[in-house]
């Protein structure tokens, strides 16, 4: 049985508020039998240092990716993962994580490829929960394993591949990386290793809307009105548009995919997870640069 929805007034303004919960709501519903909390972080050891009581860990690197091919796990592996995490097909899954929920949003997006119905994000993520002094533990959860059917992954609706993007050029594209990555000055975020792509710049026609502009200082999402000003106003998108979002490997753009799809109700948003690490290494794909890098 799915958990009740969070009726917080800020959330109810969003197009699909059933996909977001507040820290206060989660604190009250931690023990709901039909709910599993999933922590997904960039730092894969962070969960072990402490986590929300009862939360299970999903490691984006080892558990959601195929170990050999650059792709996500298939239906069988996903079902195995769900069983061992104690997640059933009807379970309400609440994701949270570090770095303003990048990886939590990414995990939520991957779960969406398998059509899991009740997926929610904890507004503000791990940092907000901790800042509010809410309980954390190092105790490993003991969840009984669950039944989960083998479901074929559906890449057609919310995932874009390189060839899809090639024919998409000219339609709305959102590059959510930092301005220096967009311009081609940097190949990765500032202070991160400058490796991973042979060419810098962006996909022709892409609008630069860094993911962080959708978030407040505390990591929560901005209000619906603010998001509309940003995406409809500044970036000129509209809810019926066919939109592709991308970043470096698809994690920051999952955050934007979530905002457009669930908070603003856009119906055709695809995340290009190959992102710049594929595009910037591909032979003869078109690249645009705003200005020559300085120096």
């Amino acid at each position: 049985m799915p958990a009740p929805h969070d009726t917080d007034p800020k959330l109810s303004e969003y197009a699909h508020p059933e996909h977001l919960v507040t820290t206060a709501w989660l604190a009250e519903h931690l023990d709901d039998p039909g709910l599993v909390v999933v922590e997904s972080d960039e730092d894969i050891l962070l969960y072990e240092t402490s986590h929300i009581p009862g939360a299970v860990k999903v490691d984006w690197h080892t558990e959601l990716n195929d170990p050999i091919t650059r792709d996500y796990v298939d239906g069988e592996r996903f079902a195995d993962l769900m069983r061992t995490k104690g997640i059933g097909r009807e379970t309400t899954v609440v994701f949270y994580g570090d770095k303003s929920n990048w990886w939590a949003a990414y995990a939520l997006w991957v779960f969406s490829l398998f059509g899991h119905a009740d997926l929610r994000l904890l507004d503000g993520g791990r940092a907000k929960w901790e800042a509010e002094g809410r309980p954390m533990t190092t105790e490993a959860p003991s969840r009984p394993s669950a039944e989960y059917p083998v479901v074929r992954r559906d890449d057609s609706r919310i995932r874009a591949f390189r060839d899809d993007v090639l024919v998409h050029i000219g339609k709305p594209l959102v590059d959510v990386r930092s301005p220096d990555e967009f311009s081609g000055k940097l190949l990765h975020m500032a202070n991160y290793p400058q490796e991973g792509a042979l060419r810098g710049g962006h996909i022709p026609g892409a609008k630069s809307v860094p993911w962080a502009r959708a978030a407040n200082e505390d990591g929560t999402f901005k209000s619906r009105a603010e998001l509309e000003t940003l995406y409809a106003g500044e970036a000129g998108l509209s809810p019926a548009d066919d939109v592709v979002v991308y970043c470096r490997i698809g994690e920051r753009s999952s955050h934007t995919w979530f905002a457009l799809t669930h908070l603003l109700g856009y119906e055709h948003v695809r995340n290009y997870d190959g992102s710049w690490t594929e595009w910037g290494n591909s032979v003869r794909v078109p690249i645009e640069r705003d200005a020559e890098p300085a120096g």
Binding site: D43, L45, L46, P193, G196
Partner: protein, 149 residues
């Protein structure tokens, strides 16, 4: 199979510990090392600018390597508690290199991080960050040796 460069004994011990553990336990080990970094002495806490940033790591990390009159290396590292993986790598180098003769620290090959068997559980970017940390330690040691001669 190529012959691997021998490692200084304390670092070889750490590497052997990782390599002989099943992959799942390697994360636990990394967590142990993340908790073994000693607190900074006052002269660094009061002057954090004396620590060199390691921008190749995914989370902020700062390191200083000193060489004493007996040409032994002393390492000082600072990394945020919310970045345990980065701390773990710093802890490995601290456990494996602190107090060793400078020449031994300089002899450590850049691919040592690949021998920890962490590639399956840690993203490649993180391993590169760890390699960069070692390179910065060695460069600082070389700099200090230059000062002494």
């Amino acid at each position: 199979m190529t012959v691997e460069t021998p490692l200084p004994a304390p670092l070889a011990e750490v590497v052997a510990l990782f390599a002989s553990s099943p992959p799942r336990d390697r994360l636990e080990l990394l967590l142990d090392y993340s908790q073994q970094i000693p607190p900074l002495p006052d002269r660094f806490r009061e002057h954090p600018e004396r620590l060199e940033p390691v921008p190749e790591c995914q989370s902020p990390l700062f390191v200083a390597a000193e060489v004493d009159d007996e040409r032994r290396v002393h390492l000082f590292v600072e990394a945020a508690p919310e970045a345990p993986t980065t701390r773990g790598f710093a802890g490995i180098f601290h456990a494996g290199l602190d107090g060793l003769p400078a020449d031994e620290v300089l002899s450590v090959p850049g691919d040592v991080t690949a021998r920890l068997g962490l590639a399956e559980v840690v993203s490649p970017l993180r391993l590169r960050g760890a390699t960069a940390l070692l390179a910065r330690i060695q460069r600082q040691v070389r700099g200090h040796l230059g000062d002494h001669t």
